[in-house]
């Protein structure tokens, strides 16, 4: 059986590494396309959110390629969001559309015990120590992927030769495809960091930082968010990748209690408390806390990327407005629906970056 997952920020590489560690096959993933979205939209229930539509098209493409097992990341039980119903709904529709074998394995939402049972079943019954080691391989690769993405996001606004940062990033992400042992992920990360020194970065350019807000799926898939981070980077705006899977998986599941991600996760939860006492969906609390943290560390504005039909996003809006008021920073809310235009979004980001730059220069 060959497995697949969703592409989000190349974090599927962690999944691939874990499958390789257990000697299982993990497929190359096709890129998300407009065609998938169109198909997904045509087959989705009326009120499905945008991620549902896109991933439905994506899963059908996998099924067409005879990849019938889909594995979902093991992040914390996403309380009140469609997350869990979403994958089950997708499975139902893909099966109905002529691929009865297509099965979604969700590694989250049912607690640690069930997650281990699922893992055991899929990986051919390894022992518990072996499963723990598999999780270590997954975690180390996740960490390496997210750190590479972070380095690239910070460097891109300053790159002297256009495209040099992305060339560096894709080279080292390709290296991560080979990971089977956790040490390998660490070694690759170390070598990538050394290689990073060779990229020419201009130190004089005024780089402004903004915080990117939104629900998990959108801010993780460049296809959804019209590649917001790269767009902002090209406008000289630096962005930290929010809600990375390393943070959510290692921090949220306390993989290393007291470790880096767990501390960060707790810090964000704490920082969200002024604005939030409930967790109305997805990683709402962590998302809000992360925005507050970034503003405290000098971010000068907030970009809120929403998608049509996303309930957590709708609720994010008034809370983000309140945060923006408290920190006296500008905010833009951008809503993507199926027919949204990339160009219109680019224009809004340019205007926003201009505003931030003028504000900075005035100071």
């Amino acid at each position: 059986m060959t497995y697949a997952s969703y592409p989000a920020l190349n974090e599927y590489l962690a999944m691939r590494a874990m499958f390789q560690y257990f000697g299982q096959k993990f497929s190359d993933l096709p890129p998300l396309t407009e065609e998938m979205l169109t198909w997904g939209e045509a087959k989705s229930p009326e009120y499905a959110c945008l991620p549902f539509k896109i991933y439905l098209g994506f899963c059908r493409e996998l099924a067409r390629r005879k990849i019938n097992a889909f594995f979902v990341h093991g992040i914390r039980n996403i309380r009140a969001c469609r997350y869990l119903d979403l994958w089950e709904g997708i499975q139902k529709i893909v099966r109905r559309e002529g691929y009865p074998e297509f099965t979604v394995y969700s590694w989250s939402g049912y607690g640690a015990k069930k997650s281990f049972q699922i893992l055991k079943k899929i990986m051919g019954g390894p022992s518990y120590p072996k499963m723990l080691m598999g999780i270590l391989v997954y975690s180390a690769t996740l960490d390496a992927t997210d750190r590479l993405n972070d380095l690239a996001n910070q460097a891109r606004p300053r790159e002297v030769v256009a495209g040099s940062v992305d060339a560096w990033l894709s080279r080292w992400l390709r290296e991560l495809e080979k990971v089977r042992r956790w040490r390998q992920a660490k070694e690759i990360l170390g070598r990538a960091k050394n290689d990073f020194g060779r990229i020419k970065l201009g130190q004089t350019r005024l780089v402004i930082k903004v915080a990117l807000a939104g629900d998990l799926f959108k801010i993780h898939e460049p296809f959804f968010n019209f590649d917001t981070i790269r767009k902002l980077n090209r406008l000289g705006v630096a962005v930290e990748q929010p809600q990375s899977f390393s943070l959510l998986f290692m921090g949220g599941n306390k993989i290393w209690p007291g470790g880096y991600y767990h501390r960060r996760f707790r810090r964000y939860q704490k920082k969200s408390q002024k604005y939030l006492k409930s967790i109305p969906g997805s990683y709402f609390d962590v998302g809000i806390g992360e925005i507050v943290d970034q503003l405290e560390r000098g971010a000068k504005g907030i970009v809120h990327f929403q998608s049509f039909g996303c309930m957590p996003d709708i609720m994010f809006k008034p809370i983000l407005d309140r945060i923006a008021r408290d920190f006296r920073v500008p905010i833009i809310h951008y809503m993507r629906d199926t027919h949204a235009s990339d160009t219109a979004y680019q224009t809004r980001l340019e205007a926003f970056a201009d505003l931030l730059r003028r504000q900075e220069l005035k100071k």
């Binding site: 969001c81 709904g89 109305p280 309140r322």
Partner: protein
């Protein structure tokens, strides 16, 4: 609770929006607060002005029930000391049964936070409301009562009283076959000679809000059908019904599962001529109901799905209803 004011001592008033989960838990909330010594004020029934006020401030992408909720909060703003907006939490099920937790819609979970952000001047009381095996969990209410300055025994007594009136409300619905509209709003429903029965399934705050649903129950009655709703079914019967769905088809949403249960229940009843499933436009949790239950149900029973939002007009709704009733004949 009493407080000194310019004209002497007065009792604090707590406002409850006549919207959202009011139709399910009002007897509990009211009894709890009144037993603790507060005055309870309910917002006005939904009307055109109230809805217009809600639509003006609410995010346009919200579902109709939430826009209505904004209107009710605005109606209470300025005329009560506090507004009660419980934070709806987890509904857990005992081990060996469903085995996992279900949730309320995110709007009900996060509403107190959102309203605090929207209306900084609004004083909100936000007890946590969670359930275990369909029973209201007492702990958060005991904590809430103590935060209001009451002692342990008084709060325990208030909780017991509140639970008793909630049980009475449940019994009145299921044993006497009455809708929350009759019990809470004293409205006349299903009166006169109504030879046939029609099931109306949907979220209580859209099924029973006559203004938001353009008096759908009355319209069904006028066409000779007695209306049967989800709230008239015994909760245990609902649960047995949705549990018969394959595990992966059961929802992670508490009220959606109840709808699944009700749709299946009505689908098996020979005395039900047809089922209307009323869905607010853009309702997130209910987005899979058609795929999961209704597609299958249609093989056994006529089902009409009526979607509703603020732009739904009298004429459109009537035409839709009449077409469905013609089909039943």
């Amino acid at each position: 609770m009493e407080q000194a004011g310019p004209f002497g001592i007065y009792r604090m008033t707590i406002g409850i929006p006549r919207a959202g989960l009011y139709y399910l838990y009002y007897p509990f909330w009211k009894t709890f607060l009144e037993t603790l010594g507060f005055d309870v004020v309910v917002s006005a029934p939904t009307n055109r002005n109230l809805l217009a006020a809600g639509l003006k401030v609410a995010n346009s992408e919200l579902c109709l029930p939430m826009k209505v909720m904004y209107g009710h909060i605005l109606d209470l703003r300025g005329r009560v000391d506090f507004v009660l907006l419980p934070q709806m939490d987890e509904c857990s099920w005992g081990a060996g049964t469903y085995g996992t937790s279900t949730y309320f819609c995110p709007y009900f979970v996060g509403m107190p936070d959102v309203m605090e952000a929207e209306f900084p001047d609004l004083k909100i009381l936000r007890p946590v409301m969670s359930f275990h095996d369909n029973q209201i969990v007492d702990g958060p209410w005991l904590d809430f009562g103590r935060q209001l300055g009451k002692n342990r025994e008084v709060v325990r007594h208030a909780f017991d009283q509140a639970l008793a009136s909630y049980q009475l409300f449940l019994a009145e619905r299921t044993k006497n076959n009455r809708t929350p509209l009759e019990i809470l709003e004293k409205k006349k429903v299903n009166t006169g000679d109504l030879p046939q029965k029609m099931a109306l399934v949907g979220r209580p705050y859209i099924v029973y809000d006559e203004s938001a649903n353009l008096e759908l129950i009355k319209k069904i009655n006028q066409r000779g059908y007695r209306v049967q709703t989800l709230e008239m079914i015994d909760p245990e019967e609902l649960r047995l019904n949705f549990r018969q769905l394959p595990f992966h088809s059961q929802s992670h949403w508490y009220l959606t599962n109840e709808e699944y249960g009700a749709l299946r229940h009505f689908g098996q009843r020979p005395d039900i001529a047809g089922i209307i499933y009323l869905i607010p436009f853009n309702c997130g949790p209910d987005f899979m109901v058609e795929e999961t239950v209704i597609a299958d149900l249609r093989r056994r029973k006529p089902v009409a799905i009526i979607s509703i939002d603020e732009s739904t007009g009298e004429a459109g709704l009537t035409t839709r209803l009449d077409a469905f009733i013609d089909m039943l004949k």
